[in-house]
């Protein structure tokens, strides 16, 4: 779909990414979403905000991907009867976002078929909505019993296996309810929200400078992506422009983050099929990289490296040299390990055809990011809407069509090699300049959106500013919102003991969606 086909003209937000934003009424809202949905677009995020202080009730925001960039729509919502038209029939992934919007803000999706609670467990009553400005973040409530109606599967021989939120290993908490016959999975239902920390509420007590640190801690494994998206949002509202050097260094950091996460995942995938050798080898490589991160940027996982205006630490020639040497070693080792994984009959037998998401189903359900690209969903911001410095690099997007664990493993191998190539190019022509430029104050009531292709998929940060450079509302969006529901489909007809492997091949974030 072309943007000029829209009935209303929307202004483009300033900043690095092609994002258009406009306020619309309910009918236009729904019809625009239909146009995008039917035209092959996707839903990126859905969130609400409390505008009572501006005497404007509430507002519901959605951001959609179209062929030419992101379209962000704001729908004013009546304060007396806060409801808006349901989008889950167009974008199945919207369902959980809508349920979260109700739990946190009391915005009701009219016509949705699933109105169960999502984020709320037992720590606050259903009549209370923590993201409303009238809610005091310090209030405490008597804990009630957490009743949640899971969908039950009936029939002869069907039984349920309840797993989590406390697991046998040290992993994040999530509850998985399997309905099985013997070992075969008929249905999986997920339940999250156990790590709800009130991050969005916390942001609202911060100014733009303070927010940078918290943004980097939304999901520790994607700290660079979140920090960059936050920086983009701040730079969009303040009009700051980072130097080309800062942008190149941000890309280096983002690709380093991608590499160390992929290495860790490849090791874990080996471990999950009992190939402890692969686990040890990949984690040695990952550990070497983390130590290099620490030496060069002061933090193993690169936290606080990206700040609004640029990057916190510059890289000297010696640092570049060390990264290049590390990459040369890495490239060789990863190549060898890929051969071993590819030729290991036992591992391939587990990987192939496990947890398959067909391209049709992936498109229907809006599978995104790395997992989406393994199922023919060719979306990669770095290739499609390249901001500087990616516009100079000609990023080669990896895609596969099988959509099984093997495809997601291969995707990781290919993306590691591509990231190595990109870092080399970036370091080769690192532009001179200041690593960080000053950021001015933001105007009140402005919207800035940051949009970055993290290792898991596209990460978005929407920033609504308030008075005195404060944050009025901030919504960080993780691609896990879209992909967790697809995992429920990927496991159908697989056997229970294959679930950990399939889950690991997606490796989605819990904290990134529990917020």
């Amino acid at each position: 779909m072309r943007l000029d086909e829209f009935p209303t003209k929307f202004p483009k937000l300033p900043g690095a990414m092609p994002i258009w934003h406009g306020a619309v009424d309910a009918a236009t809202f729904r019809s625009l979403c239909e146009q995008v949905g039917h035209g092959g677009g996707k839903l990126v995020a859905l969130w609400g905000s409390d505008e009572l202080a501006r005497d404007a009730g509430y507002a519901l925001h959605v951001s959609l991907i179209t062929a030419i960039g992101m379209l962000c729509l704001t729908l004013p919502v009546n304060a007396e009867r806060p409801s808006y038209p349901d989008l889950s029939d167009l974008f199945p992934g919207a369902s959980r976002m809508q349920r979260a919007a109700f739990d946190l803000l009391g915005l009701f999706a009219d016509g949705a078929c699933d109105h169960r609670k999502w984020m709320r467990h037992a720590s606050w009553p259903g009549s209370v909505h923590p993201l409303r400005k009238s809610f005091d973040g310090g209030s405490a409530f008597a804990t009630e019993t957490d009743g949640y109606p899971f969908v039950t599967v009936t029939g002869g021989g069907v039984h349920e296996i309840a797993v989590g939120p406390v697991h046998a290993g040290t992993i994040e908490p999530g509850h998985f309810r399997f309905s099985v016959i013997g070992e075969r999975v008929l249905r999986l239902e997920e339940r999250f929200g156990y790590t709800h920390k009130g991050i969005e509420k916390r942001f609202e007590s911060m100014n733009l400078d303070e927010g940078a640190k918290l943004a980097g801690r939304i999901s520790g494994d994607s700290t660079v992506a979140y920090a960059w998206a936050y920086a983009q949002a701040v730079e969009s509202v303040t009009g700051a422009t980072p130097s080309p050097r800062a942008l190149a260094l941000r890309a280096v950091l983002l690709e380093l983050e991608r590499i160390h996460n992929h290495l860790g995942d490849l090791g874990n995938l080996g471990n999950d099929v009992g190939l402890a050798f692969g686990f040890a080898q990949f984690w040695i490589l990952k550990e070497d990289l983390l130590r290099l991160n620490h030496d060069l940027f002061g933090h193993r996982y690169l936290m606080d490296s990206v700040v609004p205006g640029g990057v916190a630490r510059d890289l000297d020639g010696k640092g570049c040299q060390r990264i290049l040497e590390a990459l040369a070693h890495l490239q060789h080792e990863v190549g060898t390990l890929k051969d071993i994984y590819d030729e290991h009959a036992g591992a391939q037998d587990r990987f192939l055809s496990a947890g398959r998401v067909s391209p049709d189903r992936a498109a229907l359900l809006g599978l995104t990011g790395l997992a989406g690209r393994a199922s023919s969903q060719a979306w990669d911001l770095r290739a499609q809407f390249p901001c500087a410095p990616y516009d100079q690099l000609d990023v080669r997007m990896a895609t596969h069509h099988k959509g099984d664990v093997a495809a997601r493993v291969t995707m990781r191998f290919e993306e590691v090699q591509e990231s190595i190539r990109l870092i080399r190019l970036l370091l080769d022509q690192l532009p001179p300049g200041e690593p960080c430029t000053a950021v001015g104050n933001a105007p009140e009531n402005a919207l800035g959106i940051g949009w970055v292709e993290g290792w898991r998929g596209e990460i978005m940060v929407a920033l609504h500013t308030g008075k005195d450079n404060r944050i009025h509302r901030l919504h960080p969006h993780d691609p896990s919102w879209q992909n967790w529901p697809v995992l429920e489909h990927a496991i159908i007809d697989n056997i229970v003991p294959d679930f950990p492997l399939i889950n690991k091949s997606f490796n989605l974030s819990y904290t990134g969606i529990d917020l």
Binding site: V163, G169, L275, A276, V496, P497, P500
Partner: protein
């Protein structure tokens, strides 16, 4: 002291040595594995420390645990202890070997497994039931293969008694028997499955949904868990010693002199260390199988055992 009481003392000492050395074997396996996989290795004594730690810990019992759940660790340990007593470790002809033959040995393991599965069901968690069902599936396939392999050897020895069978092999000297080769392969595969090693089960996994043996004992802790873990270590050693006794018994003491016994100790130590290294290589190069491939794996073991038996009948008997 007459020879009878010397023999009984030796038998008791051998059993004691067996159960005391089992954690050491487990520690050795872990250590070699770490070295082979480029990881920092714990001391070989680590399993002892773990057991001591578990024994000292307070017991946490599920609210709906019955007497069965509390009794099972002792039943499992007791059955494994009796099995260990029947296997010649450093000397043959000990009086304890007369109390049980191979079939009873398999029975001891079945008894321990039966009660472990009951205890897993007793608590009523999903994992217990899942683990029990998987373990029983594996057992139903592994036990026939195990018996078939052992019968092949028993046919040569004309006895199912372990001590007699070992002695027969010892006296026959180094004879290449095709049937033994088949039986050895079958027994190795069964041992891997029975002891919950890769590729059938992964003893180091933390993924509760993939577990077989571990899923059954997930609710155990403290001294109960210590006993079960210890029994599992003894079981691994029993299988290793069985393989040594049947196929490579040279060095085992057939008289009760000090020199023969020390040779016996040295020989079995060296052989166990070697066998453990083989296990480690096997576990390092293989990945864990998809659960539904396990029947094929054990079916192959059964087939090998059957081939061993046929080879024995066709080529080796009646001559």
């Amino acid at each position: 002291m007459n020879s009878q009481s010397i023999a009984w003392t030796l038998a008791a000492a051998q059993t004691l040595l067996f159960i005391l050395a089992a954690p050491l074997l487990a520690g050795w396996v872990k250590r070699v594995k770490c070295h082979l996989q480029n990881r920092a290795a714990p001391a070989v004594w680590q399993p002892y420390r773990d057991l001591a730690k578990l024994i000292k810990k307070n017991l946490v019992l599920a609210e709906n645990a019955s007497w069965l759940f509390r009794a099972v660790p002792y039943i499992v340990f007791g059955a494994t202890l009796l099995a260990a007593a029947a296997v010649p470790l450093i000397a043959v002809h000990l009086p304890t070997s007369a109390i049980a033959d191979v079939i009873v040995l398999v029975g001891f393991f079945a008894l321990a497994r039966f009660f472990t599965a009951l205890a897993a069901l007793d608590i009523g968690t999903a994992f217990g039931g899942m683990g029990a069902s998987r373990e029983m599936t594996v057992a139903a396939l592994a036990e026939p293969a195990m018996l078939m392999a052992v019968f092949t050897l028993a046919m040569t020895a004309h006895s199912t008694n372990l001590s007699v069978a070992t002695e027969t092999v010892l006296q026959a000297g180094l004879v290449l028997r095709p049937s033994f080769l088949f039986a050895l392969l079958a027994l190795l595969m069964v041992a891997v499955a029975e002891c919950g090693r890769i590729p059938v089960d992964n003893p180091a996994t933390h993924l509760e949904l993939t577990m077989l043996h571990e899923a059954m004992i997930l609710e155990y802790n403290g001294r109960h868990l210590a006993l079960i873990e210890w029994a599992a270590q003894i079981k691994l050693m029993i299988y290793a010693v069985l393989i040594i006794d049947f196929f490579f018994p040279w060095g085992i003491a057939s008289e009760f002199s000090a020199s023969a016994l020390s040779v016996g100790v040295l020989a079995v130590t060296a052989k166990l260390m070697l066998l453990a290294m083989l296990l480690v290589v096997w576990e390092t190069v293989l990945a864990k199988m998809r659960l539904f491939r396990v029947p094929q794996f054990l079916g192959f073991a059964f087939l090998l055992a059957l081939l061993g038996m046929l080879t024995n009948v066709v080529l080796e008997t009646g001559g």
